[in-house]
Homo-oligomer: 278 residues x 2
């Protein structure tokens, strides 16, 4: 069963006047609970803090979210936690209330069904038609404005396709509906520049850091479909699933390559167990 | 006091798992209640229906929203109603649940304080820095993804400035944070094309219809700041306030002209009492 703490209260609910509902005026995080530990928790909380600062939402007191997560995980070793922070309730209208009391929701969901196709063995990916809009003020943040991802994910029902890639109207590929994108070209690991749109994933951050440790050259830059189809390797990342090598992209088959395997092995050694070869 | 019906229940609240909160996966309407009647209700319900169809959210049964609005208005002649329709609750993740039970919220807020500066006498307007992102799939709809408007409205605190104009990254002016935009150029009434972004306001719709009845030529097209500053007249529209002539735009003073006055008189005759000259 999913459990929630709303401003610390078990089984709390939300006011119809919460700005998180009214305007998507808030942020969220999705965190893997593995063997009793919240994985990459510091990275998640850092991104949330950055988001609160950029949207001028008062961040929760230090330590509070961690304590509430631990409270929910008392009887549960594995699952998926979700944090939602909104600007709180206010009168009608876009204007930010003078006295803002942010709303804090912390939930714990059952673990993802592991009988689902394992991402580590390679996934089939499609191209989405739904565009991702560009707005540098929101770029990188995991805000509650996610209708584009909802519409992107609604484009297919075929369960053999694990993810869809979304692009801007200008043809820049930004990432999957729920994952970040990487391509290997020669000796370089490239991932889309997220200065105008997209979400700055915590697994993406870890991958860029681990690649640097391994001496793999990395670059954040814009990329289009043709560059991606010409890449030596393509993989996706997600904080719940680690790395997923792409074995087909639209109609084109792709091969799982050595850099993907090296990165997965390195992540597995850092506790991302989904990347461990069975 | 604000009253809410949540799926028909008085003082209901919202589940933390509602997709309206999680993703802004829904739509809303804001409706003027004047002398016991919900103004332009048919236009609001038509826009909501269009939005539900475009987002594939099951629309409420015919007549239900009207009945719930009447229920809330039983002891209140004037106020502001709000309808929120979300895709409802679901498991975690962007994927649309197979069985969707939309969430329906209907609220009634006290009337707007009429001691506020009257829009009909002319308003001062500024330029917002926050851009409006382009996504044709969402353009025109009043979705719950409204962070851009929140950030735009947060740019100023000066109460003598009533509204801010927002533009795309390409420099197309789209409208105010909470209003649609019109300019008069020669004998023509122009308003921004909303095929790539912006909200298709019900007062905008009424204005275009009334202008056609009056024999005023109208055109929906993209416009930039320079064109707007060179216009003969500029006014904004909003379903709660009717028409607001713009008397200054950034640093530049503007004059209230005959077409604005003619349109306001015509709207006042059609029941938009805020447009009547005192």
């Amino acid at each position: 069963m999913t459990q929630w703490l709303v401003n610390g209260l078990p089984d709390g609910s939300l006011s119809p006047q919460d700005r998180g509902l009214a305007y998507g005026d808030g942020l969220f995080e999705t965190i893997a609970l593995r063997a009793g530990k919240f994985r990459l928790l510091d990275y998640h909380l850092e991104r949330l803090q950055t988001g609160c600062e950029r949207l001028a939402i008062p961040p929760p007191a230090k330590g509070l979210l961690g304590a509430e997560l631990q409270q929910l995980a008392a009887n549960c070793a594995n699952g998926t936690a979700k944090i939602i922070i909104t600007r709180g309730c206010g009168p009608r209208g876009y204007r930010t209330p003078v006295a803002t009391h942010a709303t804090r929701l912390v939930g714990l969901f059952p673990a993802v069904d592991l009988s689902l196709p394992a991402w580590r063995d390679g996934i089939r990916v499609r191209w989405c038609q739904t565009p991702v809009a560009e707005n540098p003020l929101l770029a990188g943040l995991k805000t509650l404005n996610r209708l584009e991802q909802v519409l992107g994910r609604a484009e297919w029902q075929d369960d053999t396709i694990s993810e869809g890639l979304m692009s801007t109207l200008q043809g820049h590929v930004i990432g999957g509906t729920m994952s970040n994108l990487f391509m290997v070209s020669g000796s370089q690991l490239l991932t889309p520049d997220l200065s105008r749109c997209g979400i700055n994933g915590v697994m993406r951050r870890l991958i860029l850091e681990v690649a640097a440790e391994l001496g793999i050259s990395t670059l954040e830059q814009s990329m289009d479909a043709a560059q991606l189809l010409a890449a030596d390797e393509v993989f996706l990342s997600n904080c719940l699933l680690g790395i997923a090598p792409v074995i087909s992209l639209g109609d084109q088959p792709l091969t799982i390559g050595p850099v993907s395997r090296q990165m997965m092995q390195a992540l597995a050694q850092r506790g991302i167990s989904e990347c461990a070869v069975a």
